[in-house]
């Protein structure tokens, strides 16, 4: 029986939504192909996530518990993933395409001798593993295929919908020992500077309010923040808005930043440069607010408003508050 394995990153005591999306799709493939569905969790206290995986129908959970896995650092994560890979012997390993996964995917493929299909927007298993990848700053789709086995696939957030299985499972739990001496580390983590504590995480958010070059001062930033708060949304930004110094770089959405696909994406003062669109074109509903009627963002927007954000956002806030008060 072949094994399909999913890497399940966690955040604040829960598997991330992006991980559960991938797991849901892999479950569908595993049930169809009669394969074993395995998941792995890397965390100093990995046991506590087993419960959250049961509704998703996993047959096996691999746990790697080590203090070095408390914060992301590529060497221990790589060693842990390779250890799980050797224990599970999967034909396919799927991972959500986060920065932490991008940090190790190539090295993991080289270490375990796997083919790698990174940052895909769809994949399937047939005679070979096939995947669709947006390339050239998401201007075109490449149909790709792995010509060897095993295969690693990293999947863009929002590609699939997370859904529990029809019936939960009682998975076999396999603990994989990690032989890792932190004293041998040649790359060490000094500190992590977080810019967005307490706010909704971008890659996990249902609604995103994103600021662009048109947001040019503190007052504009406050309007964006107020709208995000009112909608329970995460805040994102284009490269231009980050370069203007108004938003931290961790909020960047685009080819080089985060790739997001929320249910609702509100682009405020964003022109829609291809590098930015590459990171958000998968959003279900896109609202664009921009002064320039020719801004390319209007070509992909579900609803567009040509207007000054400094005038539109206060009206929008007022309307949303009115609706909320009514319901």
């Amino acid at each position: 029986m072949s094994t399909y394995l999913c890497h399940i990153p966690t955040q604040q005591e829960r598997p991330t939504r992006a991980a559960l999306e991938v797991l849901t799709h892999v479950r569908t493939l595993a049930r169809r192909d009669g394969a074993r569905l395995a998941a792995c969790v890397l965390h100093p206290a990995a046991d506590r996530f087993v419960e959250a995986l049961k509704p998703y129908g996993v047959d096996q959970v691999y746990l790697v518990k080590h203090p070095a896995l408390d914060r992301h650092l590529n060497a221990p994560v790589l060693t842990a993933l390779a250890a799980v890979f050797r224990a599970a012997q999967p034909t396919l390993m799927a991972l959500p395409s986060t920065e932490s996964v991008k940090d190790v995917l190539g090295a993991l493929a080289a270490r375990v001798g796997a083919a790698a299909l990174p940052d895909v927007s769809a994949f399937d298993i047939g005679a070979s593993v096939t995947a669709t990848r947006p390339v050239m700053a998401a201007r075109v789709l490449a149909d790709t295929e792995a010509t060897t086995q095993p295969v690693l696939v990293s999947v863009r957030a929002g590609t699939y919908t997370a859904q529990p299985a029809e019936s939960p499972t009682e998975p076999e739990v396999v603990e994989v020992p990690l032989d890792f001496d932190t004293a041998t580390l040649r790359a060490t983590l000094r500190e992590v500077i977080t810019g967005t504590t307490g706010q909704v995480d971008l890659s996990e958010a249902d609604i995103i309010v994103a600021a662009g070059r048109g947001v040019r001062d503190e007052a504009g930033k406050q309007l964006v923040e107020e709208l995000a708060r009112e909608l329970g949304a995460a805040i994102g930004a284009s490269r231009a808005a980050i370069e203007a110094g108004l938003f931290p770089a961790s909020l960047q959405i685009g080819q080089t930043g985060k790739v997001v696909s929320p249910t609702l994406y509100i682009a405020v003062g964003i022109s829609g440069a291809i590098q930015h669109v590459a990171g958000m074109a998968g959003s279900k509903v896109i609202v664009a607010i921009n002064k320039d009627p020719d801004a390319p963002i209007f070509n992909i927007a579900t609803y567009g408003i040509v207007g000054d954000l400094y005038q539109i956002l206060p009206l929008l806030l007022e309307e949303i508050r009115r609706i909320k008060a009514e319901s």
Binding site: G106, A116, A142
Partner: protein, 255 residues
């Protein structure tokens, strides 16, 4: 500090193209230095300008790649290696294998790569190369400093900016958010003409066709399916906003 930067020549992703029978066809064949690699060259030059040392570059490709190599030399790299090959059917694993063979008998304090290539957006080669060479690495670097024989690398991670101390020799993959690459000066361009480019073949590197077999391939290209055409709401601002909220609730059902 001696740094070697791996550079790639890529099609200009802004250039107009068509898809004919599943293949990409550019109206004008225009090739450029991968923007992420340009940032890697810039990052290396800045370090060496502050702390001494040399910057060299290595590229793989047909003869036409020399144009891109000259660009890096004009920016300030001192010498270049051109691995002559046709990599059009290669994947990241093949490229990393070739680069690993190149680096095996050479000694640098640091190897830099762009964090991904603009055409494939795969982002695998750098960390594959580090693994093949057994080097510690940091990916997606947005800041670089040199302290007491170590690189202090800032990387953009999921939770924020991670400050990492990297022992040397090590490898760093660099984001275009690190810097704005310099535009070569006329003097730089003139000097680049006299800088050495050493040509190497795959057999010079002791590579057999067996080792070059890719693990993945592109079977074809397709246009991105167009989004259903949207609606521009026009009129008096307060009315337009009211209509937007109504559409979001009743038509799109997302509020």
């Amino acid at each position: 500090m001696n740094i070697c930067v791996c550079i790639k020549q890529v099609p200009d992703i802004q250039a107009p193209f068509r898809i004919v029978d599943g293949r990409l066809q550019f109206d004008v064949e225009r090739y450029v230095l991968n923007a992420y690699d340009a940032s890697a060259v810039e990052g290396a030059l800045q370090l060496v300008e502050q702390h001494g040392g040399t910057v060299e570059v290595v590229a793989i490709g047909p003869a036409s790649v020399s144009e891109t190599i000259r660009k890096a030399l004009a920016m300030g790299a001192e010498r270049a290696y051109h691995i002559e090959a046709d990599p059009s059917d290669w994947d990241s694993a093949t490229v990393a294998t070739v680069l690993a063979a190149f680096f095996r008998d050479r000694s640098y304090d640091a190897i830099f790569t762009g964090k991904q290539a603009q055409d494939t957006d795969a982002g695998l080669t750098g960390t594959m190369l580090a693994e093949l060479l057994g080097l510690p690495y940091v990916s997606n670097a947005v800041g670089l400093a040199y302290e007491n024989g170590r690189l202090i690398v800032t990387r953009q991670g999921d939770a924020g900016r991670e400050i990492i101390e990297l022992a040397l020799p090590g490898l760093v993959t660099i984001s275009n958010d690190m810097n704005d690459p310099r535009i070569p000066s006329i003097r730089g361009i003139m000097q680049a003409r006299r800088k050495p480019i050493e040509a190497l073949t795959l057999s010079d590197l002791g590579l057999s066709p067996e080792q070059l077999r890719p693990r993945t391939r592109v079977t074809g290209y397709r246009p991105i399916p167009p989004r259903a055409s949207g609606r521009k709401l026009e009129g008096e601002p307060a009315e337009v906003v009211r209509e937007l909220v109504r559409l979001l609730r009743e038509e799109a059902r997302v509020l």
